[in-house]
């Protein structure tokens, strides 16, 4: 009875809130051009950043600080998960291993998926994707190994150090910008050195975007793998 009442109230509540949101949105016409800053980006993205993909340019360059933050958030999550699930001794406790079909499939797919992840992050300034999907794809390769094998484990130490170094690399890239161009996260490769101006649309362009996306890709890959690892392991009582 109480449960019923709660449901009814909840439905009423969300309807009211929904109506309110809709009212607010009614004056943000769908499909109309509302760009102000966005227009600037579209018009200047190629000359200012060397990226063809405007989204990428926004993500890594114009709004690079957001992305640095985003990288940090993921770092926090991986750190937090590892911290909370930390136990003196932890192991995989899965009982059944995948059949030979699955294990062999995972082995075969592993290098391909990893390479494809790299492909995604290095082409971030040209195609959709970039560091996060690239890293996530790489992590998927590791996930697959975990799913197939009951004994598989990533090399933790190496991963943690790699993760940290990649993050440091990102910040250092930004600090080099501060040192060379006078601004934190300044794209010194494109704007100071002018590398790749003749190359727009090809791989070696986009200023520091490929570098940062590579770092992010590595970082996200190791982080997500770490999260998977932590979630799949359980405490072993000694």
């Amino acid at each position: 009875m109480v449960g019923m009442l709660k449901r009814v109230l909840a439905i009423l509540t969300i309807l009211v809130i929904g109506y309110w949101l809709a009212q607010g949105l009614a004056d943000v016409p769908f499909g109309q051009d509302k760009m102000v800053v966005g227009k600037y980006y579209l018009e200047h993205v190629k000359e200012e950043t060397g990226a063809v993909n405007a989204v990428t340019a926004v993500v890594v360059n114009y709004r690079g600080l957001d992305t640095l933050g985003e990288v940090t958030v993921l770092f926090i999550a991986s750190t937090g998960v590892a911290a909370l699930l930390w136990k003196k001794k932890r192991e995989r406790t899965a009982k059944t291993e995948g059949s030979v079909v699955l294990t062999t499939g995972a082995r075969l797919l592993f290098p391909f998926i990893a390479l494809f992840g790299m492909y995604i992050f290095i082409h971030g300034h040209l195609t959709p994707g970039g560091g996060f999907p690239g890293g996530a794809t790489i992590a998927t390769a590791f996930l697959l190994m975990y799913l197939a094998f009951t004994i598989y484990e990533i090399p933790h130490r190496g991963f943690e150090v790699t993760e940290g170094l990649a993050g440091m690399g990102y910040v250092i890239t930004g600090l080099i910008g501060l040192a060379i161009g006078g601004y934190f996260l300044f794209d010194w490769i494109w704007q100071t050195w002018g590398w790749g101006h003749e190359n727009i649309g090809r791989l070696f362009s986009g200023g520091f975007i490929p570098i940062i996306y590579t770092l992010i890709g590595i970082k996200v890959g190791t982080e997500l793998s770490g999260i998977v690892d932590n979630m799949l392991k359980e405490e072993v009582k000694e």
């Binding site: 899965a94 009982k95 059944t96 291993e97 995948g98 699955l102 998926i113 494809f116 492909y119 995604i120 082409h123 195609t127 959709p128 994707g129 999907p133 996530a136 794809t137 998927t140 996930l143 697959l144 799913l147 197939a148 009951t150 799949l232």
Partner: protein
């Protein structure tokens, strides 16, 4: 681009049918099988859309999607058989 609408229609019907199984079940594996089929179909749809919008970049998206959904299905399957 003669028959695009026909293809989309067929795919749409297929998706609806698998959706039916997703909701109907009755077992979890049933739903999962249906989801698997649906993702497979979606990959095809994405490829088709890439051509429709003339943007090759959607093909990358399709492949990422295929990889992720494969991993997802395996994860669920392994979970159900107690292999995690």
């Amino acid at each position: 681009m003669i028959g695009v609408n026909i293809y989309l229609l067929l795919i749409g019907v297929a998706t609806l049918l698998s959706m039916y199984r997703v909701f109907r079940g009755p077992t979890t594996v049933d739903r999962l099988v249906a989801v698997d089929i649906m993702t497979t179909i979606t990959v095809g749809l994405m490829v088709l859309f890439a051509l429709y919008y003339r943007r090759i970049i959607f093909l990358d998206v399709a492949l990422v999607y295929a990889i992720l959904s494969f991993a997802g299905v395996i994860a669920f399957a392994r979970y159900l058989e107690g292999g995690l």
